[in-house]
């Protein structure tokens, strides 16, 4: 068997691009540039956060369900102006990235995430871990999410979920 080096280069380049996009996604949230978060999605992109309990049972309920960028922008303006909670920060650790396939201009990928949450009193805890299931496309030379489904391993949310995962 010979290795097709052109194909390998292509796969590696794609993987690095997706990995870079995932880092950009994490930094956008962790650096509190939340107003930029909807821009990581396409105009009609969807974002859902659910639990393994619901996902494995085929139950459609989500903790957060944004159908299009407008709803994402509403989420962010709500957390800036209306919702009340103790300010906190996230640190996203994204790993085990895998590009599952690329066809028709769409990339399917998945990854694991861990989100550490640090509260104003100082305690840092594991707030969430789970899996991203994504569909990405290229738009204006940049990758964007057409769909992101974040499936939390735990059925429990500690206190509240306000900042996107």
């Amino acid at each position: 068997m010979t290795i097709d080096s052109a194909a390998l280069d292509h796969d590696l380049a794609l993987r690095l691009r997706v990995e870079d996009f995932y880092a950009e996604y994490s930094h956008t949230i962790d650096d509190d540039r939340l107003e930029d978060w909807p821009g990581l999605f396409t105009e009609n992109g969807t974002y859902r956060v659910t639990t393994r309990e619901n996902f494995d049972s085929g139950l459609p309920l989500a903790l957060i369900y944004c159908d299009g960028r407008g709803m994402m922008e509403d989420r962010i303006s709500a957390l800036r102006t209306a919702n009340i909670y103790e300010p906190h920060v996230y640190c996203h650790l994204t790993s085990a990235l895998r590009v599952l396939g690329a066809s028709g201009g769409e990339i399917r990928a998945r990854a694991n995430f861990t989100v550490l949450r640090t509260m104003p009193e100082g305690d840092t805890t594991i707030f969430a871990c789970g899996r991203y299931f994504d569909r990405l496309i290229e738009e204006d030379g940049r990758l964007k999410l057409r769909e992101r489904l974040a499936v939390l391993d735990s059925r429990q949310v500690d206190t509240l979920l306000v900042v996107p995962i």
Binding site: P60, L63, Y65, M71, D74, Q156, T159, L161
Partner: protein, 416 residues
Amino acid sequence: MAMATASTRAAGFTWPNNDLSRAPYRVYTDPDLYALERERIFQGPTWNFLALECELPNPGDYKATYVGDAPVIVARARDGSISAMVNRCAHKGALVCYKRRGNVREFICVYHNWTYDLAGNLTGVAFKRGVAGKGGLAADFQPERHGLEKLRVETCRGLIFGTFSDDTPPFVAYIGAELAANIDRVFPKPLKVLGYHSQILPNNWKLYAENNKDSYHASLLHVFHNTFGVVRPNMGGGVKISNSGWHHLSYTQRVSLGDDEVAREKVRSLQEQYRLKDPRMMEHRLELGDNITNAIQTVFPSLVVQQILNALAVRQIQPKGVDRTELVWTVLGFEDDDEAMKELRLKVNNLVGPAGLISMEDGCVGGWVQRAAKANPDATTVMPMGGRNVEASEGSRITEAAVRGFWKGWRECMGF
């Protein structure tokens, strides 16, 4: 010398001045009171929500849940009847069901293979005759006296309730006909589970129970509606309270608009700085035969029945220690919902749950009371809104009467 029990230690507690409008902070922080609540409230004369009938469609289906912090199994037997029993083997006390849901022919405790039927009766003991004539059950062992501890069960509109006490009145008499009518109203036809949420609240369970009865805080803590100009000054509503004071219903009603009111609403909206870019998550189809938009109902001690626009749910309060509570949301639609209706419900559910735009604050505010209350157990809250008594309120939700009703129920159960 006899060891002091939670009961005798808690016996020193008295409610200050017989005044329902002041609760001492100790009630949220004292582990002895928490232990006594287990016995006198959750295992006392109260009905506690267990499951929905639609979660157990087939014989052998079971769900593991909690009443207070006691683990409980709810199961459907071959004849279709529903039983509830404590999830604790009569032999050595292990959990009989360690999975949260499933379908079984019988319950087998994996520790020593003691076997129970779907109603919790002991049907088999491994090696009961021993081996080769040696060992085996004591001659005086009576299997009929060693089943799983049973709860009495009643169903109402697809909701399954259990009680440990023989003294609990029938469910409808327990909550009263006026409040039972709201369960009929919200759940008029077969239900379908859309999913579950679970929220860990860093506070005593009673802070969340009170929060639901506190219609005063709704528009003050949860400002999403006001901020985004979706507040409607033309909302009517009120608070109904059962004769016992223990249970309540707070509701908001859309009333028809006069011209000047429309104008006023427009002005209000125009002045709003923030508008929703995509208001689909606020879309509401009147589906329950009236113009009530929001209805929050409590069944003492641990159930909330929720209608917020088309977001229907039951919320079960599960205490996990004196300062920790799990809130389990079972989010519902109807079996005959079409795809568009299902989609509408999924969108409006952005408003509620642990990430709910109008409910998330309830996840943290109880913890703030818990943290502040710890150092001063004998200081009290003050709840004077709407008087000092437990009276219903037509036309206004600016009242703490239902919260005072909660404390009436608590004191009556606890004997304080």
